[in-house]
């Protein structure tokens, strides 16, 4: 075969450059994760060694024996679920309305959801905390939920609004045409069409609430201690890398489970079809 050597060389060059870029990306993303994972199972790791000098679950036992860690994981899960559920309840109908009706100030209202994200957050938290202090809400779960809800609404308004707008109206008309009521159209046609987008928005909302620290810290302490708050106090209190690493691994579990669940949903034909069409 007489392949054109010039073409072959550039092709190989492309592959090489591509591979290097990919490798760089993998290292950039994966190295910190690998580091955290190694630290979580390291009992001793002295600096020149490439790998931990002593492996073990000592810090896992130590951490899991702590009462604050024990109680904070379920608390975090429950709070994040409540925030996600409430946000969905409030935002999804609003998103549908934003997408399907045209009222004066519609664009302005949509934009208003970004304003809380446009300010530096800490002063906002402080001012909210002051109000909650007056209302006697500081240190209660509703206060944490309320703060996290405010900062979650953007995802659950904007993403579903765009998704609802993206649904071809003729799909709905076709369903009306074969005999579906408005409610049936919404439940059987429109919602399945936007399900992937709503799923992604819910995922974002949940993880956002689950990992949120500053807001929960300011209005939640001393009684409401979520897992990220516990982690923060452990890391800032004593410089033991393993505590942070172990808690990070624990914190990964719910979001990893969610991501796997989401992937399965996206992979299934139904949702893949919803995404591509």
């Amino acid at each position: 075969m007489k392949a054109n050597p010039a073409v072959k060389r550039t092709l190989n060059g492309d592959v090489l450059v591509g591979s290097l870029l990919l490798l760089g990306l993998v290292v950039f993303i994966a190295m910190p994760l690998v580091g955290v994972l190694l630290w979580a199972f390291a009992e001793q790791w002295r600096s020149p060694a490439l790998l931990p000098t002593q492996w073990g679950l000592k810090f896992w036992h130590a951490l899991l024996a702590r009462a604050d860690v024990h109680s904070s994981l379920p608390l975090s899960l429950i709070l994040a679920s409540i925030v996600t559920g409430l946000a969905a309840l409030l935002c999804l109908p609003a998103a549908y309305a934003f997408a399907r009706t045209d009222f004066p100030g519609r664009r302005l209202m949509l934009l208003s959801f970004i304003t809380v994200h446009a300010f530096p957050r800490f002063p906002l938290y402080v001012s909210i905390a002051v109000i909650f202090l007056v209302l006697g809400l500081i240190g209660t779960a509703p206060a944490v939920v309320a703060v996290q809800l405010v900062f979650s609404m953007l995802y659950l308004i904007w993403i579903p609004t765009a998704a609802f707008r993206g649904v071809d109206r003729r799909l709905e008309e076709a369903a009306r045409d074969v005999g579906a009521s408005h409610l049936t159209v919404l439940l059987r046609i429109t919602l399945p069409q936007v399900a992937p987008a709503i799923g992604a928005a819910l995922l974002l909302t949940f993880t956002n609430a689950f990992y949120e620290v500053e807001g929960a810290l300011l209005v939640g302490i001393p009684d409401i201690r979520t897992l990220p708050i516990v982690m923060l106090s452990l890391i800032t209190g004593q410089v033991i890398v393993q505590y942070g690493a172990v808690l990070s691994v624990i914190l990964w579990v719910p979001s990893l489970a969610l991501l796997i669940f989401a992937r399965r949903m996206f992979d299934s034909r139904t949702f893949a079809a919803g995404v591509t069409m």
């Binding site: 071809d168 003729r170 799909l171 008309e173 076709a174 369903a175 009306r176 045409d177 074969v178 005999g179 579906a180 009521s181 049936t184 059987r188 046609i189 399945p192 069409q193 399900a195 034909r269 139904t270 949702f271 079809a273 919803g274 591509t276 069409m277």
Partner: protein
């Protein structure tokens, strides 16, 4: 089987009527095409029948009963959309069965009806596929099956084949017509493609700016266009302003003698337009009836279309059988064999000025099918 009647239906968007006092009767089992340029209101008319739009005035009757108050989900119409509008999260089976399941039919009946509908459109065995796994033509067939499976009284199609390539369009057109004939399905088909309308329809309803210009068989709307718009819209047509000059009619390069009857018919008309089809213009070798120069010869296969420029500037299209030869730049004579004269608000007057004298034909090239543009002597 059913009839459809539109009684002076008007639908306004703002102040502008999209459909303006439209009246139309579709007989049982009839195939009617709504034809018109984009924005003429033909799709709105279809959506009015389907129930997606409500008329501001007038009434729509199916089998003689008013349907205006009936929402689209309970109307006895079935609609096929331009974009097929299949539900991508459902299989072919799910799409076609959706309406049947809403009617709470037992599972066995649903499966049988879906299988029958798929067989009708030539897609047996495609139940488990998803819409994205089908070709454009197959998707549109499924959309047709989805409507037909519910046995609608009126089948409505909104430019269903316009997104498909030309060959597929022709094939699906023929299949649709065959199915429609077999089922004796009353059908209303919207298109902007006159060829599609001419091949499909029992009758064509030509719309312009929300109004119905003419309803008639494909032959009738071609042969006797009732308005100047229809004349210009259907097929090729030479249209030119005309005026009376004494006994004669002057239009472009032509000075046509009128019969007494024609003169009476055109008595007090001010503004006239003359319309003549390319095949109604006779070309002669030496022009005694209007000199013109051949600008272009377009080979259409069965015949040739000759683009002419007349000495006073009018451009004409004439038609020539392919066994005759003509060359670009050649000087020819043009005569009007048959033409229609239009006046504002009146039916056209048909004239046959060419009957008077004999036409000198072009030289026939015996046994010679090429047209290497050899000049005729």
């Amino acid at each position: 089987m059913a009839t459809l009647t539109l009684q002076s239906v008007t639908r306004r968007f703002g102040a502008v009527p999209a459909v303006d006092r439209m009246s139309l009767d579709v007989a049982d089992g009839e195939f009617v095409c709504l034809l018109g340029p984009s924005g003429c209101g033909k799709s709105t008319a279809l959506r009015l029948v389907a129930g997606f739009e409500e008329p501001d005035e007038g009434d729509i009757l199916i089998d003689g009963a008013s349907t205006v108050a009936i929402p689209p989900n309970r109307r006895a119409t079935g609609m096929v959309f331009q974009s097929h509008a299949l539900w991508s999260h459902m299989t072919v089976l799910g799409n076609i069965a959706f309406g049947l399941k809403l009617r709470k039919l037992p599972g066995a009946v649903v499966r049988r009806k879906v299988a029958e509908a798929l067989e009708l459109v030539g897609l047996s065995g495609f139940e488990r596929r998803y819409p994205r796994q089908l070709s454009g033509g197959q998707q549109q067939r499924v959309a047709l099956a989805r409507s037909l499976v519910l046995e609608p009284k009126i089948l409505l199609l909104d430019e269903p084949f316009s997104a498909l390539d030309a060959h597929l369009r022709v094939r699906l057109r023929e299949e649709l017509r065959a199915i429609q004939r077999r089922l004796r399905q009353t059908t209303m088909f919207v298109t902007h493609d006159q060829e599609e309308a001419l091949t499909l329809a029992d009758r064509i309803a030509i719309m312009n700016q929300g109004s119905l210009e003419q309803i008639g068989s494909p032959g009738a709307v071609y042969e006797q266009p009732e308005t100047l718009f229809v004349a210009g819209f259907i097929g090729a047509m030479n249209v030119m302003a005309a005026r009376r000059e004494g006994e004669a009619l002057v239009a472009g390069p032509f000075r046509l003698d009128l019969t007494d009857a024609d003169r009476n018919a055109l008595a007090e008309a001010q503004h006239l337009d003359l319309a003549a089809r390319p095949e109604d213009l006779d070309l002669t070798l030496s022009g005694e009836a209007g000199q013109a120069v051949v600008e272009q010869v377009v080979d259409l296969g069965p015949m040739r279309q000759i683009h002419l420029v007349c000495s006073e500037g009018t451009r004409l299209k004439a038609q020539l059988a392919r066994q005759f030869t003509v060359a670009t730049g050649q000087s020819v004579g043009v005569r009007v064999g048959r033409a229609l004269i239009y006046r504002e608000g009146c039916r056209p007057v048909e004239i046959h000025p060419g009957d008077a004298g004999a036409v000198l034909p072009f030289r026939r090239i015996a046994g010679h099918r090429h047209h290497e543009d050899r000049s005729a002597p």
